[in-house]
Protein backbone atom coordinates (compact mmCIF):
# COMPACT_ATOMS: atom_id res chain seq x y z
CA UNK A 1 0.00 0.00 0.00
CA UNK A 2 1.56 3.31 -0.97
CA UNK A 3 0.43 6.86 -0.39
CA UNK A 4 0.04 8.80 -3.64
CA UNK A 5 -0.81 12.22 -2.32
CA UNK A 6 -1.04 13.70 1.13
CA UNK A 7 -1.53 16.89 3.06
CA UNK A 8 -1.37 17.71 6.74
CA UNK A 9 -4.05 19.98 8.15
CA UNK A 10 -3.97 21.76 11.50
CA UNK A 11 -6.56 20.95 14.15
CA UNK A 12 -6.48 23.74 16.70
CA UNK A 13 -9.95 25.30 16.51
CA UNK A 14 -13.59 24.72 15.55
CA UNK A 15 -12.85 26.40 12.22
CA UNK A 16 -9.96 24.00 11.56
CA UNK A 17 -12.32 21.09 12.12
CA UNK A 18 -14.72 22.51 9.52
CA UNK A 19 -11.75 22.85 7.10
CA UNK A 20 -10.75 19.24 7.67
CA UNK A 21 -14.31 18.09 6.95
CA UNK A 22 -14.48 20.19 3.78
CA UNK A 23 -11.08 19.06 2.44
CA UNK A 24 -11.91 15.42 3.17
CA UNK A 25 -15.29 15.76 1.45
CA UNK A 26 -13.69 17.41 -1.61
CA UNK A 27 -11.13 14.58 -1.97
CA UNK A 28 -13.87 11.97 -1.65
CA UNK A 29 -15.92 13.66 -4.35
CA UNK A 30 -12.84 13.71 -6.61
CA UNK A 31 -12.25 10.00 -6.04
CA UNK A 32 -15.88 9.19 -6.78
CA UNK A 33 -17.04 7.91 -3.38
CA UNK A 34 -20.83 7.73 -3.00
CA UNK A 35 -22.74 10.33 -1.01
CA UNK A 36 -23.36 7.86 1.83
CA UNK A 37 -19.66 6.93 1.96
CA UNK A 38 -18.69 10.61 1.98
CA UNK A 39 -21.14 11.38 4.76
CA UNK A 40 -20.02 8.46 6.94
CA UNK A 41 -16.31 9.17 6.58
CA UNK A 42 -16.69 12.93 7.10
CA UNK A 43 -18.85 12.32 10.18
CA UNK A 44 -16.28 9.89 11.61
CA UNK A 45 -13.51 12.44 10.97
CA UNK A 46 -15.58 15.09 12.70
CA UNK A 47 -15.98 12.92 15.81
CA UNK A 48 -12.28 12.08 15.95
CA UNK A 49 -11.20 15.63 15.21
CA UNK A 50 -13.37 16.93 18.01
CA UNK A 51 -11.85 14.38 20.40
CA UNK A 52 -8.38 15.63 19.45
CA UNK A 53 -9.50 19.21 20.08
CA UNK A 54 -11.32 18.60 23.35
CA UNK A 55 -9.24 15.89 24.97
CA UNK A 56 -5.92 16.09 23.15
CA UNK A 57 -5.42 19.86 23.19
CA UNK A 58 -5.49 19.96 19.39
CA UNK A 59 -3.37 18.16 16.84
CA UNK A 60 -3.22 17.44 13.14
CA UNK A 61 -5.21 15.63 10.50
CA UNK A 62 -3.26 13.94 7.73
CA UNK A 63 -5.26 13.28 4.61
CA UNK A 64 -3.83 10.89 2.06
CA UNK A 65 -4.86 9.03 -1.01
CA UNK A 66 -3.57 5.46 -0.96
CA UNK A 67 -3.54 2.62 -3.42
CA UNK A 68 -2.61 -1.01 -3.27
CA UNK A 69 -2.44 -3.47 -6.14
CA UNK A 70 -6.07 -3.25 -7.15
CA UNK A 71 -7.85 -0.54 -5.27
CA UNK A 72 -7.85 3.13 -4.39
CA UNK A 73 -8.55 4.49 -0.98
CA UNK A 74 -8.55 7.52 1.19
CA UNK A 75 -6.99 7.56 4.62
CA UNK A 76 -7.16 10.09 7.40
CA UNK A 77 -4.93 10.07 10.45
CA UNK A 78 -5.89 12.27 13.36
CA UNK A 79 -3.19 12.72 15.92
CA UNK A 80 -2.72 14.65 19.13
CA UNK A 81 -0.06 14.87 21.82
CA UNK A 82 -2.55 15.03 24.66
CA UNK A 83 -3.09 12.91 27.76
CA UNK A 84 -3.82 9.76 25.79
CA UNK A 85 -6.34 7.07 26.66
CA UNK A 86 -5.64 4.84 29.65
CA UNK A 87 -8.34 2.26 29.00
CA UNK A 88 -8.98 1.91 25.28
CA UNK A 89 -11.63 -0.77 25.65
CA UNK A 90 -13.63 1.46 27.98
CA UNK A 91 -13.17 4.46 25.68
CA UNK A 92 -14.54 2.46 22.73
CA UNK A 93 -17.72 1.57 24.64
CA UNK A 94 -20.84 3.44 23.58
CA UNK A 95 -22.03 5.80 26.26
CA UNK A 96 -18.71 6.05 28.06
CA UNK A 97 -17.32 9.57 28.20
CA UNK A 98 -14.59 11.17 30.23
CA UNK A 99 -16.01 14.58 29.38
CA UNK A 100 -19.49 15.91 28.81
CA UNK A 101 -20.16 14.27 25.45
CA UNK A 102 -22.44 11.40 24.54
CA UNK A 103 -19.63 8.89 24.39
CA UNK A 104 -20.40 7.90 20.82
CA UNK A 105 -17.30 9.35 19.17
CA UNK A 106 -14.90 6.42 19.06
CA UNK A 107 -17.33 3.51 18.89
CA UNK A 108 -19.56 5.38 16.46
CA UNK A 109 -16.66 6.27 14.16
CA UNK A 110 -15.56 2.68 14.07
CA UNK A 111 -19.03 1.62 12.98
CA UNK A 112 -19.05 4.27 10.24
CA UNK A 113 -15.73 3.27 8.68
CA UNK A 114 -14.74 -0.38 8.79
CA UNK A 115 -11.03 0.42 8.53
CA UNK A 116 -10.24 1.88 11.95
CA UNK A 117 -6.99 1.83 13.92
CA UNK A 118 -6.44 3.39 17.30
CA UNK A 119 -3.12 3.91 19.00
CA UNK A 120 -2.82 5.69 22.31
CA UNK A 121 -0.27 5.92 25.06
CA UNK A 122 -1.02 7.70 28.35
CA UNK A 123 1.04 10.88 28.48
CA UNK A 124 2.05 10.69 24.82
CA UNK A 125 -1.11 11.16 22.84
CA UNK A 126 -3.60 9.46 20.60
CA UNK A 127 -3.58 8.59 16.93
CA UNK A 128 -6.56 7.27 15.01
CA UNK A 129 -6.42 6.19 11.39
CA UNK A 130 -9.55 5.66 9.36
CA UNK A 131 -9.74 4.60 5.75
CA UNK A 132 -12.28 3.86 3.10
CA UNK A 133 -11.60 1.89 -0.07
CA UNK A 134 -13.16 2.06 -3.49
Amino acid sequence: MKPTHFEILPLQSDEDLVQVRQKLRARMVELGFTLVEQTKMVTAASELGRNALLYGGGGTARLESVEDSNRLGLRMTIEDQGAGIADIEQAMTDGYTSGSGLGLGLGGSKRLVKDFELWSEPGLGTRVTIALWK
Binding site: D14, V18, S46
Partner: protein
Protein backbone atom coordinates in the same frame (compact mmCIF):
# COMPACT_ATOMS: atom_id res chain seq x y z
CA UNK B 1 -19.67 37.47 14.41
CA UNK B 2 -21.21 34.59 12.49
CA UNK B 3 -24.81 33.88 13.31
CA UNK B 4 -27.59 31.67 12.01
CA UNK B 5 -30.72 33.72 11.23
CA UNK B 6 -33.97 32.89 13.03
CA UNK B 7 -37.04 33.94 11.03
CA UNK B 8 -40.52 34.48 12.41
CA UNK B 9 -43.36 32.93 10.42
CA UNK B 10 -46.64 33.71 12.19
CA UNK B 11 -46.44 32.08 15.61
CA UNK B 12 -43.54 29.84 14.58
CA UNK B 13 -39.81 30.38 14.33
CA UNK B 14 -37.89 29.03 11.36
CA UNK B 15 -34.17 28.21 11.54
CA UNK B 16 -32.66 27.26 8.22
CA UNK B 17 -29.04 26.17 8.63
CA UNK B 18 -27.18 27.12 5.45
CA UNK B 19 -23.57 26.97 6.62
CA UNK B 20 -21.13 24.29 7.69
CA UNK B 21 -21.76 24.16 11.42
CA UNK B 22 -18.89 24.50 13.80
CA UNK B 23 -19.41 23.84 17.48
CA UNK B 24 -19.41 27.43 18.73
CA UNK B 25 -21.93 28.36 16.07
CA UNK B 26 -24.31 25.62 17.24
CA UNK B 27 -23.95 26.74 20.86
CA UNK B 28 -24.70 30.31 19.81
CA UNK B 29 -27.77 29.13 17.89
CA UNK B 30 -29.02 27.36 21.00
CA UNK B 31 -28.74 30.58 23.01
CA UNK B 32 -30.28 32.75 20.29
CA UNK B 33 -33.14 30.35 19.68
CA UNK B 34 -34.00 30.07 23.38
CA UNK B 35 -34.04 33.86 23.69
CA UNK B 36 -36.20 34.25 20.58
CA UNK B 37 -38.74 31.63 21.70
CA UNK B 38 -39.33 33.69 24.83
CA UNK B 39 -39.20 37.09 23.14
CA UNK B 40 -41.63 36.18 20.33
CA UNK B 41 -43.69 33.84 22.54
CA UNK B 42 -43.38 31.30 19.75
CA UNK B 43 -45.68 28.27 19.70
CA UNK B 44 -43.36 26.25 17.52
CA UNK B 45 -39.83 25.99 16.21
CA UNK B 46 -38.86 24.51 12.86
CA UNK B 47 -35.21 23.57 12.28
CA UNK B 48 -34.44 22.96 8.60
CA UNK B 49 -31.41 20.73 7.93
CA UNK B 50 -31.95 20.30 4.18
CA UNK B 51 -28.58 21.80 3.31
CA UNK B 52 -26.71 20.28 6.26
CA UNK B 53 -24.20 17.67 5.06
CA UNK B 54 -23.32 16.03 8.35
CA UNK B 55 -24.88 15.59 11.78
CA UNK B 56 -22.30 14.25 14.20
CA UNK B 57 -22.84 13.41 17.86
CA UNK B 58 -22.32 17.00 19.01
CA UNK B 59 -24.72 18.52 16.50
CA UNK B 60 -27.20 15.72 17.25
CA UNK B 61 -27.01 16.38 20.97
CA UNK B 62 -27.56 20.10 20.37
CA UNK B 63 -30.65 19.38 18.24
CA UNK B 64 -32.04 17.38 21.14
CA UNK B 65 -31.19 20.18 23.56
CA UNK B 66 -32.85 22.81 21.40
CA UNK B 67 -36.00 20.70 21.14
CA UNK B 68 -36.06 20.15 24.92
CA UNK B 69 -35.43 23.82 25.70
CA UNK B 70 -38.14 24.96 23.28
CA UNK B 71 -40.56 22.51 24.89
CA UNK B 72 -39.77 23.89 28.33
CA UNK B 73 -40.53 27.37 27.09
CA UNK B 74 -43.88 26.46 25.58
CA UNK B 75 -42.90 25.84 21.97
CA UNK B 76 -42.99 22.56 20.06
CA UNK B 77 -39.94 21.76 17.95
CA UNK B 78 -39.71 19.88 14.69
CA UNK B 79 -36.53 19.08 12.76
CA UNK B 80 -37.05 18.83 8.99
CA UNK B 81 -35.12 18.09 5.84
CA UNK B 82 -32.64 15.48 7.12
CA UNK B 83 -30.87 14.14 4.01
CA UNK B 84 -31.04 10.37 3.45
CA UNK B 85 -27.23 9.97 3.68
CA UNK B 86 -27.28 11.95 6.94
CA UNK B 87 -30.12 9.81 8.31
CA UNK B 88 -28.19 6.60 7.56
CA UNK B 89 -25.10 8.02 9.27
CA UNK B 90 -27.02 9.17 12.35
CA UNK B 91 -28.43 5.68 12.86
CA UNK B 92 -25.07 3.91 12.39
CA UNK B 93 -23.33 6.36 14.65
CA UNK B 94 -25.81 5.32 17.34
CA UNK B 95 -27.37 8.71 17.87
CA UNK B 96 -30.96 8.64 18.94
CA UNK B 97 -33.09 11.63 18.15
CA UNK B 98 -35.93 10.02 20.12
CA UNK B 99 -37.11 13.17 21.78
CA UNK B 100 -37.12 15.17 18.59
CA UNK B 101 -40.10 15.37 16.23
CA UNK B 102 -39.02 15.11 12.61
CA UNK B 103 -40.76 15.70 9.29
CA UNK B 104 -39.72 15.34 5.67
CA UNK B 105 -39.71 18.99 4.66
CA UNK B 106 -40.71 22.48 5.80
CA UNK B 107 -44.33 22.13 4.55
CA UNK B 108 -44.89 18.88 6.42
CA UNK B 109 -43.07 20.30 9.43
CA UNK B 110 -45.42 23.28 9.62
CA UNK B 111 -48.42 20.96 9.31
CA UNK B 112 -47.02 18.84 12.17
CA UNK B 113 -46.42 21.93 14.32
CA UNK B 114 -50.00 23.07 13.74
CA UNK B 115 -51.28 19.65 14.82
CA UNK B 116 -49.07 19.66 17.94
CA UNK B 117 -50.22 23.17 18.90
CA UNK B 118 -53.89 22.17 18.42
CA UNK B 119 -53.43 19.03 20.51
CA UNK B 120 -51.82 20.84 23.40
CA UNK B 121 -54.42 23.61 23.48
CA UNK B 122 -57.16 20.92 23.46
CA UNK B 123 -55.43 19.25 26.41
CA UNK B 124 -55.38 22.56 28.25
CA UNK B 125 -59.13 23.01 27.61
CA UNK B 126 -59.86 19.48 28.86
CA UNK B 127 -57.97 20.16 32.06
CA UNK B 128 -59.73 23.49 32.62
CA UNK B 129 -63.22 22.08 32.00
CA UNK B 130 -63.26 18.42 33.00
CA UNK B 131 -66.36 16.50 31.96
Amino acid sequence: MEQIPILQVGEFLLVSIQVDLHDRLVLRLQDDLTAQVVKKQAKGVLIDLSTVEIVDSFIGRMLGNMAALSQMLGAHAVVVGIRPAVAITIVELGLSLNNVHTALNVDKGIALLQTLVKQSSAEVRDEAYPL
